[in-house]
Amino acid sequence: MTAAVSQIPLAYVLVFGALLFGLGLYGALLRTNAVRILMSIELMLNAVNINLVAFNQYLSPGYVNGQIFSIFIITVAASEAAVGLAIILEVVRRRNVIDIDKINLLKW
């Protein structure tokens, strides 16, 4: 751990993570553009990564559990985005809409 990192209290990093997560959740729940929602979800996942890496570095620096977890999250997030973009692309090709409020064939 370098000196600069050790001077930042863990709480600051966690608050940053929580804010980023809140921002992502806000965007994911209130935006209607499918691609924007996908971007917001990526923000949420990165907030989780920050949490994991910070907990790992500050609380159990001898182990790498948290860092390995975050590597898995990055990998899965990439495949999730690939599948998600493919699905969104298919919808846009068929129906020419990207606004999820207008994708409403199925209801009650």
Binding site: G24, A47, S60, S79, E80, V83, V91, R94, L106
Partner: protein, 473 residues
């Protein structure tokens, strides 16, 4: 050797990869071998479960656990794989898009389900969950030319990805608080001193939300009716049994075992969720016209009943959940084999399309009645014991009010199941030509009906089996 213990999973993945290459090489009209190979793969994996039966050990640095609970669910999931593959063969061969990748995705999803049930590490459970989820998103949108299927996929994907991110944030808090992702270690740390802090409470809520989404508990059920209706019908059959059972298995590993120190908190939460889920599922199902949508709400209600078992969280209630899942898999697989058939023949998905089915396909209609009776929970079917064990476990542990809500809800559910039975037996068919049941679907129908009756009449050996596989003692 660690690898011997995951031989069934290795077999499925190997067969899936072979099929993936096969799908790329063989043209659409020459893919008839694919369901055969997939079924053979699942059956070979079932045989490969045998050597590990009765053993208890941890493998891969305690990421995967080999125990009775894992073996039990492994067998259930492989049976799900066989039943869904058999139900899909006819339907998928009639689709415009190549059917090959369908079986590959199904096999990957089953692998993920197995890992969810057989892992005691949060990282591995989450990886299993994502393997199921990502495969499911694609499966829901498999009919690319159908706008409803597209819509099911995009809704399922967006909501699923949000739920997954929320779940992960919860997992990161659990990791931060306990310093480990291993559930056995977490259970030990907490019994000492860590119970009670607010952070862990927040994390618990996030875990409930994430898994609750996967198994469609109210209020995280919004995706289910849309995904069930829009997805290709065999995929709906799979959704209603596979990912649900896996999510519940993982929840049993996480809540009663891993987070046992917080029992007082999540027990109440699950009790409320169970009551709301049962009631919302059953009441909404009453007004449905589309049978796939009706079955979506029916399966939400079933998850509500099962959630009572999670709220009670005793050895008896966890065993009851295992029996319930075993019964439910056969009931729904059998029931959906007929829904698939009628959809495949172009007869329709509406309940009114079932009019006069008792004349058009008498045996199949009778089998469907057996399944509905089992879903209601009438004696001599597996559904009776499934509900009875949950009921008894709830009463024993002082959750009398939940038991009463369960009974009332079972009565409500008669309303919509009877609607289909009435259409089949009392209404005149629009077209009286007989519906021939193909062999593969007939096999699924018969397996489901026989298992439903067998579990309802000779339940003793199965109860003993579950006692051996039980996670809580």
């Amino acid at each position: 050797m660690d690898y011997l213990y995951i031989l069934p999973e290795l077999i499925i993945v190997a067969v899936a990869l072979v099929l993936l290459v096969g799908a790329a090489l063989s043209p659409k009209d020459r893919q008839g071998y694919m369901p055969v190979v997939a079924t053979a793969g699942f059956l070979a994996a079932l045989v490969a479960v045998y050597p590990a039966l009765g053993q208890e050990t941890n493998i891969f640095g305690r990421m995967i656990t080999v125990d009775g609970f894992a073996q039990f669910f492994k067998v259930i999931f492989l049976i799900v794989g066989v039943l869904v593959t058999l139900s899909s063969a006819g339907y998928m061969s009639k689709q415009k898009t190549s059917g090959g990748e369908y079986y590959v995705l199904l096999m990957f999803a089953v692998t993920g389900m197995i890992f969810m049930a057989s892992s005691t590490d949060l990282l591995a459970i989450w990886l299993g969950l994502e393997l199921v989820s990502i495969s499911s998103y694609i499966l829901a949108g498999y009919r690319r030319e159908d706008p409803k299927s597209n819509e099911a996929a995009i809704k399922y994907f967006l909501m699923g990805a949000i739920a997954s991110a929320v779940l992960l944030f919860g997992l990161s808090l659990v990791y931060g608080y306990t310093g480990t992702t291993n559930l056995v270690d977490i259970a030990q740390i907490e019994t000492k001193a860590l119970a009670g802090p607010a952070v862990l409470g927040v994390a618990m809520f996030m875990l409930v939300a994430g898994f609750g989404f996967k198994v469609a508990m109210v209020p995280f059920h919004m995706w289910a009716p849309d995904a069930y209706e829009g997805a290709p019908t065999p995929v709906t059959a799979f959704f209603s049994i596979g990912p649900k059972a896996a999510g519940l298995a993982a929840m049993i590993r996480i809540f009663p075992v891993g987070l046992s120190a917080l029992t007082s908190k999540w027990s109440l939460l699950f009790a409320i969720i169970a009551a709301v889920t049962m009631t919302v599922g059953n009441l909404t199902a009453l007004s449905q016209k589309n049978i796939k949508r009706m079955m979506a709400y029916s399966s939400i209600a079933q998850v509500g009943y099962i959630t009572i078992g999670l709220a009670v969280a005793t050895a008896a209630s966890v065993n009851a959940i295992m029996f319930y899942i075993m019964a439910y898999v056969f009931i729904n697989a059998g029931l959906f084999s007929m829904i698939i058939l009628l959809d495949e023949r172009g007869i329709g998905q509406k309940i009114e399309d079932y009019a006069g089915l008792s004349q058009r396909a008498p045996v199949a209609a009778a089998a469907m009645v057996v399944f509905f009776i089992a879903l209601i929970g009438i004696p001599f079917t597996s559904g009776f014991f499934a509900k009875f064990f949950i009921f008894a476990a709830a009463v024993q542990s002082g959750f009398m009010w939940l038991a009463i809500i369960l009974a009332v809800n079972s009565a409500i559910s008669v309303g919509y199941y009877y609607g289909v039975v009435k259409a089949m037996y009392l209404d005149a068919p629009k077209d009286a030509s007989p519906v021939k049941v193909p062999r593969a679907l007939g096999a699924v129908l018969l397996t489901g009906a026989l298992a439903t009756l067998a579990l309802g009449v000779f339940s003793e050996p199965f109860i003993r089996l579950i006692g051996l596989a039980s996670l809580l003692r």
